[in-house]
């Protein structure tokens, strides 16, 4: 069985279905890109996978030793975070909170791993800096480092390059690609069809016509010429 399997999934909120009858699976080490226009239910799908929403119908199963709680998550930035007084170190180590249970403080080992993840993202020099004073690209790296503290298996990225300039966007994509090569499964929501085709090996297209398959199948499906022309 794959790491994540969705069977006949219907998602939505407040009783309104946005996407119906969605079936797809993600294997270990895959790089899946979820495409679709605004309002097509991409973020809702992601929140359903994370267990923040319950599915209206169908099921989501995890396998290969992955539990739902071990899925790391890079959310879109919220207004609250833009003026939150927190140091980079405080935010990164908070990625371990989920596994703390009732334990009140972080262990030495967790603090060390947090530092390691900061190094991996190239932000260890910023550890004492204030999050709200960093550039958009640096903030995304901080949140990625935090997500790495929560998981070593699967990352869900919600529009990771939104609002970044082209150069930083490129760096971000490379960084994600490296993580994927090191064995972490990536599920990324994106508008950017070109980048999706360059980096991802599987494509899920929702909204209007539903498509799930490999990159090559997507290119041949005809959906690409219709949607990608925009």
């Amino acid at each position: 069985m794959a790491q994540l399997v969705c069977n006949n999934l219907s998602i939505g909120y407040e009783g309104v279905e946005i996407v119906s009858d969605l079936s797809f699976s993600v294997g270990s080490g895959d790089y899946l890109c979820i495409l679709g226009e605004n309002g097509s239910g991409k973020s809702t799908l992601m929140k359903t996978i994370l267990g923040l929403h319950s599915p209206m119908r169908g099921s989501i199963e995890t396998g290969e030793g992955l539990t739902q709680r071990e899925i790391g998550y890079l959310p879109q930035q919220t207004q609250v975070q833009k003026d939150f007084p927190a140091s980079v170190r405080e935010i990164v180590v908070s990625g371990f909170q989920g596994r703390c249970g009732a334990r009140p403080f972080y262990s030495k080992e967790e603090k060390r791993l947090a530092l390691e993840n900061m190094k991996r993202m190239g932000i260890d020099k910023l550890a004492r800096r204030c999050y709200r004073e960093l550039s958009g690209g640096q903030q995304q790296r901080v949140l990625l480092a935090r997500a790495l503290c929560a998981t070593q298996k699967m990352l869900l990225l919600d529009e990771p390059v939104a609002g970044l300039d082209p150069k930083v966007t490129e760096e971000m994509y490379d960084l994600i690609s490296e993580l994927n090569k090191s064995g972490i499964t990536i599920i990324m929501i994106s508008h950017d069809v070109k980048a999706a085709l360059r980096y991802a090996d599987h494509i899920l297209h929702i909204g209007g016509e539903i498509f799930f398959g490999t990159r090559e199948e997507y290119l041949q499906s005809g959906l690409y010429t219709v949607k990608g022309a925009r």
Partner: protein
């Protein structure tokens, strides 16, 4: 000099001395959750709860219950939990629900106090409840001990759950997705806010509580940059302002609650200025 001598002679009186200790403890507690309240946009809930507490006091007064904390505490805690719940299932939106509950409690409270006056001096009673006056000094021994114990509990709770409060405040979705029981901690935070408000009511009265909770946090946020330093700074700030406010009010006979809040406002202005200058030089 005369005012200073008056201060020395007052502070030596045991009941004044006790009142100051209790006041400092309350100020400490109320500042701790300030950052969370401001950032989670919970500050309006704090404001609403303080009005509910006023209603609670009115009911206790009418029913002639001497230890009014026994009534006010449960009423406020239950309201806090209800407000948090309504915020989620949004039939009536959060802020509207708060406005309804708080104004309702205020109206019912005042009406009850007017209909069944407990003492001859109604205006005085209402004013005391709203603005605090010197009620700390008239605090009964029972209330004093309850306040001390609850303050210690709040401080311990905060230390123990510090990292969880941080996670839930910074990014609730992430916390929930990775297995933190965010709902539970939100509930605990709401209950603690309710407890703090009831405690703080004795110090500054129900109308001024929000100031005690929010000002130190906002001031600290102007200057400090990590969650830990902001929290520590706002706790120190709140305690010093409360101390300065109480001593000033003894020296010059000004109302205690308002004097403390004025001290908080002055501190806020000073910290804003420091923050402004620092940023100016930083660029």
């Amino acid at each position: 000099m005369e005012a200073f001598e008056k201060l020395i002679s007052y502070v030596q009186l045991p009941f004044v001395y006790h009142a100051i200790i209790v006041g400092v403890l309350i100020a400490l507690c109320s500042s701790l959750l300030g950052v969370t309240l401001v950032l989670k946009r919970f500050s309006f809930i704090g404001d609403g709860l303080s009005h509910v507490a006023f209603g609670g006091v009115a009911i206790a007064t009418v029913m002639n219950i001497t230890n009014n904390m026994l009534v006010v505490m449960p009423v406020t805690v239950i309201s806090a939990v209800l407000l948090l719940r309504t915020g989620k299932n949004a039939k009536i939106k959060g802020d509207a629900a708060v406005a309804m509950i708080s104004v309702g409690a205020l109206a019912v409270g005042y009406m009850l106090m007017k209909l069944f006056p407990a003492s001859g001096n109604l205006t005085g009673d209402v004013c005391t409840t709203l603005f605090g006056s010197m009620s700390l000094i008239t605090l009964s021994e029972f209330d004093m001990w309850v306040t001390v114990v609850l303050s210690v509990v709040v401080v311990l709770f905060f230390i123990f759950f510090y990292n969880k409060i941080f996670s839930v405040t910074f990014d609730e979705d992430f916390a929930r997705a990775t297995g933190t029981r965010a709902g539970l901690y939100n509930l605990l935070i709401a209950v603690i806010i309710a407890v703090i408000i009831v405690l703080a009511m004795n110090l500054v009265g129900s109308l001024l509580i929000s100031a005690l909770v929010i000002f130190p946090a906002l001031s600290a946020m102007r200057v400090f940059k990590s969650f830990k330093s902001v929290t520590i700074c706002s706790a120190c700030l709140s305690v010093s302002c409360a101390l300065i406010g109480m001593l000033t009010s003894i020296m010059f006979g000004t109302p205690t609650g308002s004097t403390i809040v004025v001290a908080d406002i002055v501190a806020f202005a000073a910290f804003s200025l420091i923050g402004f200058i620092r940023r100016g030089f930083g660029r």
